[in-house]
């Protein structure tokens, strides 16, 4: 199946999910669903570098938090703040700045969430590229350690940066109206007109539904990118790096370049997943942005779901994500992470190819059984 077709199917599936969720007149579905979708993106992003290329990233939280904090920083960069900065500069400078930059700032800010997502992605991509460039020429173990240390260091920087709230955290107040692009609004109105009445429910899209929708879009993008890579020359290159990097080099594969591509893509997707997070959560503290669950889950979900295909992280994220929602609500959030950690250990030892591997194994044995008859 061509990637284009896959994209189409993914979009249709995503739309179906969205409308189905709207039928349940309980916003909790969207709150919980957002988290699961977020994990799908993180797990898929991790898997591009981890599963396809074989390089483990322990610092998913760092890239996620970068996206979140770039949103916070830009959110706080309101025209008032900007004006205060410029007014602090010498008069001759500030007056020219005002005339040129003012209208631009007024028009751009406050930035819409899709724009923030793109920016978050770019920033995370750059950091991923930088970390990769410094450490990917060495063994995979060094890269893994560097990513872990990166998370700690970024957290240190953020905690010391008062502009984004430091350790006290930052409040992100959701705007009262939906900051939706006009073209999106008119598309929605047109679509609504085409749908049967029961589907085009007249309840307006609440803010959480909007965030859910954005995350759905990210999921479609992430899954399409992952699958696209799998079938492409790039995918072959990644696989050879994972299988035997020395032989890959000898076969003409530019391993460093490909590893950097993987790192950058992976980081970008994680940053994009993090960008809307401050709006989702309302109050962002470094400890929540850099939390345990992001690092463990980004690894556990693909490893448990299966690392060789785009479907693995999806399955792992949906299963584990839902499990965690249940456990957090019924038991506690610490037990939640404990269960994920234990599952990771168990699966890594017993079922290294994840759920997909298990299913493939059953299918193969079933076919062999039938063939033998």
């Amino acid at each position: 199946m061509q990637t284009r077709v896959f994209l189409l199917i993914a979009i249709v599936a995503a739309a179906a999910v969205f409308f189905a969720a709207r039928l349940i007149s309980n916003d909790y579905v969207f709150f919980a669903g957002y988290t699961v979708l977020q994990f799908v993106v993180l797990a898929t992003a991790w898997n591009i570098l981890g599963g396809y290329t074989g390089y483990v990233n322990f610092g998913s939280a760092a890239f996620f938090a970068l996206g979140a904090y770039s949103t916070v920083a830009l959110h706080k960069f309101s025209p008032q703040v900007y004006r205060r900065w410029v007014d602090d500069m010498p008069d001759w400078f500030s007056s020219s700045v005002h005339s040129v930059i003012d209208p631009v700032v007024q028009a751009l800010f406050p930035l819409s969430i899709p724009t923030l997502i793109v920016i978050g992605g770019i920033i995370s991509a750059i950091v991923g590229l930088g970390t990769g460039y410094l450490t990917l020429r060495l063994r995979g173990a060094f890269f893994a350690i560097a990513t872990l240390a990166l998370a700690v260091v970024l957290q240190t920087f953020i905690v010391n940066w008062d502009y984004v709230g430091g350790s006290r955290g930052a409040y992100i107040i959701r705007p009262n109206e939906l900051e939706v692009e006009p073209w999106l609004l008119s598309t929605w109105t047109a679509v609504k007109g085409l749908l049967p009445a029961w589907l085009a429910s007249t309840t307006p899209i609440s803010y959480i539904q909007y965030l859910f929708l954005l995350m759905l879009v990210l999921v479609v993008i992430a899954l399409t990118v992952a699958r696209g890579i799998e079938r492409s020359q790039l995918g072959y290159g990644f696989a050879t790096i994972r299988d035997d990097e020395l032989a890959a080099e000898a076969s003409g594969v530019p391993t460093l370049k490909l590893k950097l591509i993987a790192t950058t893509l992976s980081g970008a997707l994680m940053g994009m997943a993090g960008a809307p997070f401050p709006y989702y959560i309302g109050y962002l503290q470094p400890s929540s942005a850099f939390g345990l669950e992001y690092a463990v889950n980004s690894i556990a979900m693909p490893m448990i779901g299966g690392t060789t295909s785009w479907a693995g992280p999806l399955i792992g994220a949906i299963l584990l994500g839902s499990l965690q929602q249940y456990v957090t609500v019924t038991i506690s959030s610490s037990v939640n992470v404990l269960i994920v950690g234990l599952l990771l250990i168990v699966f890594v030892i017993i079922a290294p190819s994840g759920i997909i591997g298990l299913v493939q194994g059953w299918l193969r044995r079933a076919q062999a059984g039938q063939g033998g008859k």
Binding site: L138, V152, V337, L338, V340, P352
Partner: protein, 291 residues
């Protein structure tokens, strides 16, 4: 420069003492990573475990933490040997150490940390001993005993280990296993057994390191994570596989952190290790004394 000599010299001393302690923390990794090539990022989790054990014994029985840790050495050794066996069966034999081995230790790190949270909660714990509190003064120089004693204990640990590795048969076999497994087999020693012993020793050191940690600072379960960066930064800086290199690397990092702390504030200290790690990897990956 308006920096007082007092401040400078005491920052230096604090750095050296801290460095000694960091050496104790890192020595285990110097064996597991430097010699056995196993990336055990769960190492700090075992250290924290050691800290908590020292804490309980100290709180309930009033025993000195360092004494406790010596008693715990065999327990941690067995734990380490057991973990190596699992690692070997599940990963090394199958040749899949890299991705799955790393994930395994990562899982261990988390599970340990979360179980400690569940059992002890997130409050800081500390121990009490006669040397926590007083300082030894020498002119303008201050030697806080709660840093001096762990530093000395760490150096003793290092000395003992270095002696073991260079004089006993098993010790030399451990040093050799990194270089030539075949020669080892020809000598009649099983590489797997030697590696298991080495890994057991590596984890045993965490019992001591944990006790020293909780003497130096109050501990709560997530403290381990700060040490992952430090431990590997020191290993890489000192040069993998070189125990003396580890001690020197630890001292250097300790001094760097101490100066950063004193002149820029303690909240920047965790970033120092990472900076060191990145710079070393970028410019001299073999470290100062590496093979």
């Amino acid at each position: 420069m308006g920096v007082s000599f007092d401040l400078l010299i005491n920052a230096l001393i604090a750095g050296i003492l801290l460095g000694g302690f960091y050496a104790a923390v890192t020595i285990g990794v110097s064996i597991s990573f430097g010699i056995l090539d196993i990336v055990n990022i769960a190492h700090p989790a075992f250290i924290i475990l050691g800290s908590y054990i020292a804490y309980i014994v100290n709180a309930r029985l009033g025993l000195d933490p360092i004494l406790t840790s010596i008693v715990m050495l065999p327990v941690f050794y067995v734990l380490g040997a057991g973990i190596y066996q699992v690692y070997y069966e599940a990963f090394e034999k199958r040749g899949q150490e890299s991705l799955r081995g790393l994930s395994f230790f990562f899982g261990l790190l988390f599970v340990t940390e979360v179980m400690l949270i569940l059992v002890f909660g997130v409050d800081y714990r500390y121990v009490e001993a006669w040397y926590i509190g007083p300082s030894w003064h020498l002119g303008v120089m201050d030697f806080p005993l709660r840093m001096l004693v762990p530093c000395l204990a760490a150096l003793a640990l290092f000395g003992a280990l270095q002696l073991f590795l260079s004089t006993t048969f098993i010790g030399r076999a451990i040093s050799a296993v990194a270089q030539d497994q075949l020669a080892l087999q020809l000598m009649g020693a099983s590489p797997t057994r030697i590696k298991r012993i080495a890994f057991g020793i590596s984890i045993a050191t965490t019992a001591v390191a944990g006790a020293l940690l909780i003497i130096i600072q109050p501990v709560e379960p997530s403290v381990g994570r700060e040490y992952i960066g430090r431990v590997f930064a020191i290993c890489v800086l000192g040069g993998l596989g070189s125990l003396p290199g580890t001690v020197i690397g630890a001292m250097l990092l300790g001094i760097l952190e101490s100066f950063t702390s004193t002149f820029y504030g303690p909240s920047w200290a965790p970033a120092v290790a990472f900076g060191v790690l990145l710079l070393t990897l970028a410019f001299r990956p073999a470290g100062l004394f590496g093979r």
